[in-house]
């Protein structure tokens, strides 16, 4: 006898509808699985058989054929256990096929019939809704995540037993009400780190605010223990709040990676990812036979923090260039190409030299050549994409003991949001949204300089040995500073401050004195 059950397969970060077809017929007692399956899908055979057996149901001595249709793309994951089990029961006549109409199943089975969570429930539920399903049955631990999708009934089950009782009409399954709007309002509560804990550090604070306001990438240079990591961790707290669409977008990626917080079911706080400097290129970009999202995608709409930038393998860092340019990353493997979103703000940190204490000559004995060599480990193309570079200073006792709290993140965020609005209005007719994306013609149009300012910049250009590239970056940052000050024109003080944060250039490192 033949039966069909709806399910979905995860492909990159998208879900595709899959129907699980089960046929039980006379013949030698074997279970055959077809449909371009990976090993972990095939293993379902043993899990399902044992789980059904432990349910107290005698497994039929029949030939069972299982097909996952469409059979023309590679399927991976353990989420097919539940639909396969249900399909078998239906084929054996133990489930009313009418109850399976417009219901999607996903979940991994334990040998005792317990349901374990699977990756990608969020997009599978969305996929089911688009496919016309009315109900989704998912593992209890995925319930919160699935419930975030509107327009479909999502039920959470603890075990196969519960599902069978439900299908027999003898038990109701759990439901959960998730309101994204509500979660959106409580975003800040989930955020543990606040800028008010950062004592002193006036320069870094201000630079972080400017960087976030104009979505400039940020490089922090400073000795060990100067609060570089602390600053970076606090940057998500001053980024504008996520819109409901953004919450879903970020959650989808984390769902595909199996990294959603279990209680809330959605990512309500902007992600902060800090891969270790031993990370491989696959860890950063995403990889695997069927690629999973890497760090650049997990940091989507949040912050990617690279601590100890010169320690990273230069070839691994080269991967960042693509995503930083167009906000997504395409990964090609032999089965095909997937594209993950990867629109992040890059925050990097490094020591000024190998020992970390330059220019404090009492502690640092690095020669200028050593200092320069240390810096030259970072590729220039990457430095070219970092607009703001600033020095973090060692925390002084007076700052710790002074007890004065810094400004809290919420206040900074208000200013940032205002500047983001200014930019949104200004660039309404342009393909970009932020000051950091300004190029040639846009720069002339939106950042005109007066005569006094031009003369001033000419002096700076020679004094600091700037290049054309670093010059444009100063103008872009000055634009953001002017926006923060609510000024239409870029004035001398805005330019001067931007020079303070100017990007790092290999040619100009040691003034020598």
């Amino acid at each position: 006898m033949f039966s069909r059950v709806c399910s979905a397969a995860l492909c990159g970060i998208e879900a595709k509808p899959v129907s699980v077809e089960v046929d039980v017929s006379d013949g030698l007692p074997v279970i055959n699985m077809v449909g371009d399956l990976s090993a972990n899908v095939r293993e379902a055979r043993d899990r399902v058989r044992t789980a059904i057996h432990n349910e107290g149901i005698r497994f039929p001595v029949k030939r069972i054929t299982i097909n996952l249709s469409p059979a023309d793309f590679h399927k991976e994951g353990t989420g097919f256990d539940l639909p396969i089990a249900i399909g078998m029961m239906a084929s054996m006549g133990m489930v009313n096929p009418g109850r399976l109409e417009k219901v999607m199943f996903a979940g991994e089975l334990g040998l005792n019939g317990q349901l374990a969570p699977v990756r990608g429930i969020l997009q599978m539920t969305e996929c089911a809704r688009l496919g016309g399903c009315q109900t989704c049955i998912v593992p209890m631990k995925n319930l919160a995540e699935g419930s975030a999708v509107c327009g479909i009934r999502v039920l959470g089950a603890e075990s196969l037993h519960d599902v069978l009782l439900y299908l027999a009409g003898r038990k109701e399954l759990a439901q959960k009400a998730i309101n994204i709007e509500e979660m959106h309002k409580h975003q800040l509560i989930g955020c543990q780190s606040d800028f008010k804990d950062l004592k002193g550090q006036r320069t870094v604070r201000r630079a972080a605010e400017v960087a976030v306001a104009g979505l400039h990438n940020l490089l922090l240079i400073g000795p060990p223990g100067s609060g570089k990591t602390m600053t970076a961790q606090r940057i998500p707290s001053i980024l504008p709040e996520m819109t409901p669409e953004e919450i879903l977008e970020v959650s989808r990626i984390h769902s595909a990676a199996g990294m959603l917080p279990p209680e809330e079911g959605l990512m309500t706080v902007r992600p902060f990812r800090s891969p270790h400097h031993t990370a491989t290129s696959a860890a950063l970009s995403g990889g695997g036979k069927i690629p999973r999202p890497g760090e650049v995608s997990l940091a989507h709409l949040g912050v990617l923090y690279l601590d100890e930038l010169p320690e990273f393998n230069p070839q691994v860092l080269e991967i960042l260039r693509g995503p930083m340019e167009d906000g997504r990353i395409s990964i090609s493997r032999n089965f095909g190409t997937v594209t993950f979103p990867a629109d992040f703000m890059l925050v990097a940190s490094m020591n000024p030299c190998k020992c970390g204490y330059f220019p404090d000559r009492r502690k640092c004995r690095c020669t200028p050549v050593q200092v320069r060599n240390y810096l030259s480990r970072i590729s220039q193309p990457l430095l070219d994409r970092i607009d703001i570079c600033v020095r973090a200073e060692e925390v002084k006792y007076s700052d710790i003991a002074g007890g004065t709290e810094g400004e809290c993140s919420a206040d900074i965020r208000k200013r940032v949001e205002k500047v983001r609005e200014i930019q949104a209005q200004r660039y309404e007719d342009e393909p970009w949204n932020y000051n950091s994306a300004l190029t040639g013609s846009g720069l002339e149009k939106y950042c005109p300089l007066g005569k006094e300012e031009r003369d001033y910049m000419r002096g700076i250009f020679e004094l600091k040995g700037l290049t054309g590239r670093s010059y444009t970056r100063i103008i872009k940052v000055a634009r953001t500073i002017a926006d923060l000050a609510g000024s239409e024109d870029i004035r001398l003080e805005h330019l001067s401050e931007a020079v303070l944060y100017r990007s790092l250039e290999k040619e100009y490192w040691l003034g020598g004195g």
Binding site: D360, E393, S496, L504, G512
Partner: protein, 361 residues
Amino acid sequence: MEEEEYLLWLCSIDGFYSHSQGAVIDYFGSAEKAFHVDEKEYEPWKKLRLAWVPRLLASRTGAFIKEQQRKLSRNGIRFISRKSPCFPQKLRWVEDAPLGIFVRGALPDPLRPSVAVVGARSCSSYGYAMARQTGRSLAASGIQVISGMARGVDGTAQEEAVRFEKMSFAVTGCGADICYPASNRRLYDNLVEHGGIISEFPPGSAPLRIHFPMRNRIISALADKLIVVEARDRSGSLITADCALSQGKDVYAVPGRTDDPLSRGCNHLIADGAYIVESTEELVRSLTEVFPIGPGFHEQQVILAPSEKLVYSNLDFSAKSTDVLLQQTGMAPGPLSEALLQLEMRGLVTEISRNAYARKQ
């Protein structure tokens, strides 16, 4: 062949340094004999298995000397042997004096006073500032500055002095045709043009580690006085100071803070009885009293805006970050940066590292 040529031969052998040169001359009586004697005579030397012996024997040809002379003229280098009347008198009577020296540019004027300025390579901004002031005020008062053209104090003092014609001379630890460190290229070119490069090592010699302590004795020998600007505990500058003392020359040291490892060597010299450099003006005055020449040196006055004055008064010779400056001056980042940039344009302040500033004067 002339004796000068035989001496050039002895001075042109790689790794054959002045104490060995002296020993060979003493053994054979003269350079000429050493050139012409039968190879058998060298048996006792061969037994010592010194690295330079085979090289010395192989080079005993007229062609070798011709080649050396060509090399010299191609690079515009003069060879001045100890027998030459041009050889600096001050150097002649030094123990272990070289047989000859290679000179590119000029030699110090023996009738003018000369002072050696030496110090740390990785010096602090204080070191830079003191080296700059010392170099400039000495040269401006007509005192020749002798140093080692190294990074840090040496090069900085010479950079200032070379702006005055024939006032700056470098004694290098490599061939006179080589610019070491390469980052001092501009200084090197200026010295060739407006000063002099002196070396006891033949052209093409690499800047080997053992060369530097050797050239230090020539630095102190060519000078009448020695000034140590900044030196660590076991600094090469202290070797120069030792040479100067054994040659009977006065040593001056620029004092530093007691907790500063970069000044420990200098403070130690002062404790041992070196003259203290109270200020560059005082130094120049005391030197010009000994050598009554020169117009004297005056700093020009600079007029600063109030905000610039505030920022400048908060800076000192060790690096200070903008963070500290923001706190101390109470200024906003924009105006602070503007003041710093103005000061930098006037050459009063320098940005040592990202967001770290120090006084230049």
